[in-house]
């Protein structure tokens, strides 16, 4: 209610704020970036918003994270492209914060800079053997099958083994398991990258283990995704019934969380539903609970390659406020495999001149306003600098979560404009778009504007139609820039 009232006041009094058009630069063109752009354009008539992205293609994880067999989830792209086509909005691809242009330069060119570049790195497990060949982060694997230019050389070996171990039980872990286990004929008509489809068609993987530190009540996935993976045709599902025993603390957790309650119910049902043994040749999906990785085991025959995971059994311990964490029990066992995918969380990457909280992996902020440092002083803000999305909140949530995140950040921005906090900058005109393009031109950066992305889009759809796919993604920067630049 307060926000609603405040917004009405802001909107009405916009005309008194500044006579110079508000120039905003948003770094990152995923959901956080686009929802922020949409909100700013709507709330501040006369504002000009530029969105930059280090890739030639926009849309962030909607393009490179959402699984190929989830096309409906990608429909939000239609909304985002309408934003990009707004006359007051411009998209500039292939422009990297840091190498193409610095944060300080952006702050000189624009009244407001919003950082929405997400999380392009991973949490590490931090155990021995993590750099053995065959141990990959799920993020890279997802980039690989989604045709992200930085993922195309991953070249995971899916032919040396019949077993894959996935550490983590969130939605990304389920996505990876599903892509490994789904019949490839079903994947062939999606926008999966061709190199991945070929590799999966030749894959010898038949068993996938999803390993979680805690129990079924704490599993991080959500119902739709779990239901989907449990429903894969002709897939043997194994869940140990003893893992389904719940404690009063578990019951308390479920009472407070609808999501966890329904996940537990789905897992319980699946544990008793199917046959107790897989039939010959059947693919298998095993949910392993209460196991944390202690170290990765190296193969005797192939030095430098992973051959399994040494797991420690865990128990749960309450740490107050209804949370339970995993504690090792000192009992160990081995799980053999030829490939490990770590799906334990993404992590944001810091950038020069930007305060960064290494522990949480986010930019320190209050409601989207960037704090000057980590000291916790809540009153010292970086003028005109804001964050949105995973860089602000950490790598959790769904696409829609960014909607509320953008609302909050833009509300902070609007309040700052109204209260004159940004007066020192808004008083002056800024070069904005023209200044940015001039600098980039001087540096020979090949900018990919939205119209050029539309050429890429058209070409990908055309190539896809030749193979009964919605699109055939161009997966190298060279190909993307070539098509972007052609008429």
């Amino acid at each position: 209610m307060a926000i609603f009232r405040a917004r009405r006041v802001l909107w009405r009094s916009f005309s008194t704020i500044s006579s110079h058009p508000l120039r905003v630069c948003i770094v990152g063109s995923g959901p956080a970036g686009f929802y922020t752009a949409e909100k700013i354009l709507k709330t501040h008539q006369g504002s000009q918003v530029d969105i930059i992205d280090r890739l030639p293609t926009p849309y962030g994880l909607v393009r490179s994270g959402v699984a190929p067999d989830h096309p409906e989830t990608k429909n939000v792209i239609n909304q985002f492209s309408r934003v990009a086509q707004n006359g007051r909005c411009s998209f500039f691809g292939n422009v990297a914060l840091g190498s193409s242009i610095s944060l300080v330069e952006l702050q000189e060119l624009y009244h407001v800079v919003v950082l929405a570049y997400g999380a392009e790195s991973d949490r590490v497990v931090g155990i021995p053997g993590e750099d053995l060949k065959g141990v990959h982060s799920a993020r890279e694997f997802v980039w690989w099958y989604n045709g992200h230019p930085d993922g195309r050389n991953l070249d995971p070996d899916l032919k040396n083994t019949d077993t894959a171990v996935i550490l983590g039980q969130g939605n990304v872990a389920l996505d990876v398991a599903r892509i490994l286990l789904r019949p490839t004929s079903e994947l062939a008509i999606t926008d999966i990258a061709s190199h991945a489809l070929t590799a999966l068609e030749q894959s010898s993987i038949r068993k996938v283990y999803l390993v979680g530190r805690r129990g079924p009540v704490q599993a991080a996935c959500t119902a739709k995704e779990l239901r989907e993976v449990l429903g894969i045709k002709d897939l043997y599902i194994h869940i140990k019934e003893t893992d389904l025993k719940i404690t009063p603390a578990d019951e308390e957790e479920m009472k407070n969380s609808r999501i966890h309650r329904r996940i537990y119910e789905l897992l319980s049902k699946a544990a008793t539903a199917g046959p107790s043994q897989p039939s010959s040749g059947q693919r298998e999906l095993h949910f392993v609970f209460f196991r944390q990785p202690d170290r990765f085991l190296e193969s005797y025959d192939k030095k430098g390659y992973v051959s399994g995971v040494h797991l420690e059994k865990t128990g749960l311990k309450g740490i107050g406020s209804g949370k339970q964490i995993a504690i090792g029990t000192g009992q160990f066992e081995n799980l053999s495999c030829g490939i490990v995918l770590k799906s334990i969380g993404y992590k944001s990457v810091p950038v020069d001149d930007l305060p960064f909280d290494n522990q949480k992996g986010v930019v320190p902020n209050v409601k989207g306003r960037v704090l000057s440092d980590n000291s916790g002083d809540p009153t010292s803000f970086e003028n005109g600098l804001y964050v949105c999305g995973w860089l602000k909140r950490g790598p959790t949530g769904i696409i829609a979560t960014n909607l509320y995140c953008a609302e909050e950040t833009v509300a902070s921005l609007s309040e700052d404009l109204e209260l004159g906090v940004l007066a020192s900058t808004t008083r002056l005109p800024k070069l904005g778009r023209d200044g940015l393009l001039q600098i980039l031109d001087n540096r020979n950066v090949r900018v990919v504007p939205f119209s050029a992305w539309e050429r890429i889009d058209k070409e990908e759809k055309r190539l896809g139609s030749l193979r009964n796919k919605p699109r055939e993604k161009l997966t190298s920067r060279e190909e993307l820039l070539k098509v972007a630049g052609s008429e």
Binding site: M1, I3, F4, R8, K42, H70, E72, T73, N75, V76, N78, Q79, T222, A223, K224, R227, R258, I259, R262, I398, I399, A400, L403, Y404, E407
Partner: protein
Amino acid sequence: MLISRLCRVGFQVAKELSRGGYAYMSRSRYTQRHCCQYQWSTLELLPETRAFQGSIFQKHHGFSTSASDGASAGADEEKGTIPVTFVSKDGEEIPIQVPIGMSMLEAAHENDIELEGACEGLLACSTCHVIVMDMEYYNKLEDPADEENDMLDLAFGLTET
């Protein structure tokens, strides 16, 4: 008094569904004074559930004509539409006619009313969902399907109905 009650409910719904420029409320006027609001626990947006929605509209229509004497339900029998009023966060009321069977999201978009729908109606996100204010009406609806509940798990501002 009637208007302030509607507005209050509108604000309440706006708080819950604070997306786009508009919260929505749909109702049919039986008489000048009596007003009934109804909404759904979710927006059923899959093509195969349109028939379900159609039947809800029909049910409501049936209810209104039997419950009120000589009152025009406002429904256009020939065209098969019913009146729906969207109430914006500012309190502005936009009355429109909606064909029976059309989803609220589509109806809003067809009339240039802003309502978030990231997946464009394919039950693949939770940016549009409905709150049924009236327990009686909520109970008239079929239970939400598993797929709906899966999406509701993630919805912002989830309520019991």
